[in-house]
Amino acid sequence: MYICLMYSSELIKGTLKTIILNLLRDKGRMYGYEITAKVKELTDGKIQITEGALYPTLHSLEKSGELETEKEFIGKRVRKYYSLTSQGQETASQKVNELTDFMNTMKFLLDLEPKTGNA
């Protein structure tokens, strides 16, 4: 469901929730298009979230109580702003910590960092 210009979908599969939660933690409240545009901008277009993946995930996070929404009318259409609930704040921290830990483990596993100690 991702379109990734640089990375394979297997590589970032499972990180969509972390990306959304962390973005909302930083920016406060965002609407769907804004999220996709921001991810594209922050990654120089290397990661582009498709709408087909974004909205099901947003709705699922809302149902599980991580996100809440505010509606604003823009002419005839409704814009939904998503923001983190207190539970969502916690989940965002957990997810980011988990991903950071995973990346460090991968760096070590793939020998991408000089190891210290046992010299």
Binding site: P56, H59, K76, K80
Partner: protein, 367 residues
Amino acid sequence: MHNLRDIEVDFIESDLKSQGIVSEDLRDDLLDHICCIIEEEKQEEDDFYEYYHRILPRFFKKELSEIQIETNNLLKFKNFYIMKKIMNYSGAATVVLTIFGALFKSFHLQGAGILIILGGFSFSIIYLPLLIILKLKDEESKIDKLVHSFGLILAIFLSAGVLFKIMSWPLANNLMFYSTLLFTFIFVPVYFITRFRHPEKKFNTTVNSVLMIAVGGIFYSMFDMSYSKRYEQLMVEDHIYMHEGAEKLRASNERLLLNESANTISAELHFKSEAINAKIEELAAYITENKTTANLIQLSNGLDEKVNSYNLQVAELNMPELTQIEMRPFERLNEVNTILAMKVLARTQQQLAVNENCYLTKIIAHK
């Protein structure tokens, strides 16, 4: 920047609806998203309708309704992983509880019943229902979903039947018999026919069907099995022993009745006892001649009146040595096999003779 007109917004909304975006919430999101793209990215010279149809494929692989389906799936199966975990834990619990339950039962240790009940419940009430729900999600074809669910429901009934049988609870035989019958002769053929045509499933389907037919067939054949020869012989000997004992006692009672102490009550008891005895002999003769217990209910017509009248007199005599005759075994004579039916009859004859003997010896001793 393109300023969207109301008519264009209405067009997008109705198009989203017609393409399967049925949830209003999701439609609002997509409408705003598409409007944003048009406002931000569309060039002035682009035609609105042509541009709209150009950007829409960004949202799906085959059709737009995929987003609606994916959203529904995520909302519906939010607890998918929790369910899978519970299923795995209940599966492990079933294995442990059943093995320990069986071991405890073999060694006659306390708690075997509880372990087996818990194992059976965990399997039939938690594991199998969760498996149905998860299979419904995993299977893509509707027929496969139906067939799998049918099989698993039968498995729930079958395992509940086995549990009931082990615990000697009622309806065990019916549960086991009908679920095995439907499983072996309806589910397995349907499973085979619906899956055999797919080349990628052919091998697994064949292996599974053979295994299920073998297990189901063995299970089914066990229902109508009679006793082992050795046990049958023992039961026949037991019956003959009881019947002979009853006959000797009856002959002894006849002699006691000639004693001067015998009274009208003893004559009445003897009369009622003999009436039941005669009916029992009639039933025994039918079983011996026809080698079946079918139609015994019709043949035992009138027996209940005789037994009631007899029991009434026993109750009036109010002697602790006398035992009333139970009518219930007679009502179920056609449900048991001939050996067991003969045993029930001989036991009743013996009880009648013992009652009469107890009464007669007591009144003679008191004189």
